[in-house]
């Protein structure tokens, strides 16, 4: 028996810029906040009418009874239209969709490696479950989450920016490799979400150091429910649907 699904006209509670690139959107829903696990996502109709035509997928960022938050970067047409929505507007949202990150890691220590639009689900995870490290890589200071959005995170938060405008200069994988090199890799479990090149680099490192982990493999989506076969991911047991079989896949299952 599948978990119950909803498609609601949700009331927008807030939609505000949190930094140079990101908006935080909150809407009211009695249903879409129930039994949510970090890594699951929502499929949002960013506009009424037919422009844009398809929905856009966004990870759960935070939930509280009756309230759901997403955090999104304005990347193109859909997200820029979404950023124009105001408190009181109605938004069609379906979910909860997809699988989730592993929550209990037993003895293993959690390292989260986040980049770009992959930050929200991992922050959500770090707020809910004991986490050793949250590594965040962004292009520049502009994409960095404000401290206020990270204060609930109980973990060592380390940042890299490609231009060095904040934290360590360079790729987030620098930090990851340092940690894996200096400590006992086998004690860690990596969970990552972000641009594909970043995740690929993370997985390469994980394999190099013999660390297990999982990645939220985001693909552009049409249906979001496993019906269109538009979001396939190559795994060792063949093609899987990012929206329905994923978005979270084990490193060892992913065929890169």
């Amino acid at each position: 028996m599948k978990t119950k699904k909803y498609d609601e006209e949700a009331l927008l509670l807030e939609n505000k810029k949190v930094n140079g690139k990101y908006f935080k959107l909150a809407f009211r829903s009695q249903n879409l906040c129930k039994k949510i696990k970090p890594g699951q996502f929502l499929h949002v109709r960013v506009n009424q009418g037919q422009d844009p035509y398809l929905r856009r997928p966004f990870s759960y960022f935070r939930v509280s009874p009756g309230r759901v938050e997403i955090l999104y970067e304005v990347l193109g047409r859909g997200t820029s239209i979404l950023s124009g929505k105001k408190k009181g507007d109605a938004l069609k949202v379906m979910g909860p969709l997809g699988n989730a990150f592993t929550e209990k890691l037993g003895k293993k220590k959690r390292i989260l490696v986040a980049g770009g639009v992959g930050v929200p689900p991992l922050v959500f995870l770090a707020e809910q479950y004991p986490t050793e490290y949250l590594l965040i890589g962004t292009k520049s200071k502009a994409e960095l989450l404000p401290k206020s959005e990270l204060k609930k995170v109980r973990a060592k938060v380390l940042c890299t920016t490609e231009d060095g405008s904040y934290g360590t200069k360079g790729r987030v994988t620098l930090l990851l490799e340092k940690i894996l090199k200096d400590q006992h890799p086998e004690e860690f479990f990596i969970q990552t979400c972000g641009p594909k090149p970043m995740m690929e680099a993370v997985i390469t490192l994980a394999r190099k150091y013999g660390v297990d982990g999982e990645a939220s493999w985001d693909e552009s989506m049409a249906c979001g429910v496993g019906a269109c076969l538009g979001c396939m991911v190559k795994t060792k047991d063949g093609l899987k649907r990012a929206c329905a079989d994923g978005p979270v896949f084990q490193f060892k299952d992913l065929k890169l």
Partner: protein, 315 residues
């Protein structure tokens, strides 16, 4: 007032004209969380091929104005898996099933037809997908295409008396000509218009936004073209027609009914509104009540032609 939505297609009687377009409603229960599929008049499956197909590389889809391009590549697990794992689900569900089939050769078309002929308790009709590798393989030119279409259709007819619809798209050639031929070869009806071939370019990479140069354009963008072909085929041949092409709301659905469509296959709209099928069904019912239309047959085909006013050219 009760509206009778019963839709009769030759031997087949459906409780309403709403179905789902092949490949847009999953393989079994993907939409179960949103739609009670038993309320649909019929279900058309994703196209089934004899052997499993991995389909095309990623990316396979991209959005366009009021529509999308797709190059899925008929990904499916093949005939055996379908019979073993999907048929039982639909048998249990109890909704009239229309199986979409495609072969890489006439023989395969025949084999598929023969197989489903033996499952008449579940399978009520076949949709013969002629926009498929066999017919559309690169370098298959006009004449050759026509031949392969004929062979496929004959192969199917030779193996089953199941109600059979030929699914054709304008990309195959002159729609009326092809429709005429496949009907002459024993098809019971036509399914229109599948997708139009289109393209979208990524300015960064200067290559296609999907992994193939072309994809099938679907969604509201193609609706006027679909409506026109459904009308033309219906007018020319008065045979059962399954309409698909941008049907996204009750207004669209009613337009297709008015020009004569028998079945309305909702496709891309499912991706945008998971409950599109049932919303459209309700919209049709509400319209009929408002307009005091007791049965769909009073609406279907009630189009008033424009007649030969004006100076001909439509541009």
């Amino acid at each position: 007032m009760k509206v009778d939505l019963t839709t009769r297609i030759k031997s087949l009687t459906l409780k309403n004209p709403i179905t789902v377009a092949s490949g847009t409603f999953g393989t079994t229960d993907e939409y179960a969380g949103y739609v009670d599929a038993r309320k649909l008049g019929a279900i058309i499956t994703k196209t089934i091929t004899v052997k499993a197909r991995a389909g095309n590389p990623m990316p396979r889809i991209c959005e366009t104005s009021s529509g999308m391009l797709n190059a899925i590549g008929l990904q499916n697990k093949g005939l055996e898996d379908f019979i073993e794992h999907k048929i039982p689900y639909f048998k249990k569900l109890g909704v009239p099933l229309i199986v979409s089939i495609a072969g890489e050769s006439a023989e395969e078309f025949g084999k598929l037809a023969k197989t489903f002929d033996g499952m008449k308790d579940v399978v009520k009709a076949l949709e013969v997908n002629l926009s498929c590798p066999n017919v559309e393989a690169a370098g298959v030119g006009g004449m050759k295409k026509q031949e392969r279409i004929a062979d496929a259709v004959k192969a199917v007819r030779g193996q089953t008396n199941l109600l059979a619809f030929a699914k054709i798209s304008p990309e195959l050639g002159d729609v009326l000509e092809i429709a005429g031929k496949v009907l002459a070869q024993g098809m019971d009806g036509i399914s229109l218009i599948n997708t139009l071939r289109g393209m979208a370019v990524d300015l960064r990479t200067r290559s296609s936004r999907i992994a193939k140069d072309f994809g099938g354009l679907s969604g509201p963008a193609i609706k006027p073209v679909a409506l026109r072909y459904v009308y033309q085929v219906k007018k020319e041949f008065q045979v059962p027609v399954i309409a698909s092409g941008g049907i996204s709301n009750a207004q669209d659905a009613l337009e297709f009914l008015i020009v004569g469509a028998d079945l309305l296959a909702i496709g891309t709209a499912n991706f945008v509104e998971p409950q599109a099928t049932l919303q459209i069904l309700k919209g049709i019912e509400d319209f009929c009540k408002k307009e005091k239309i007791r049965g769909l047959d009073d609406l279907r085909g009630s189009y008033e032609p424009a007649g030969e006013k004006g100076e001909g050219c439509n541009r």
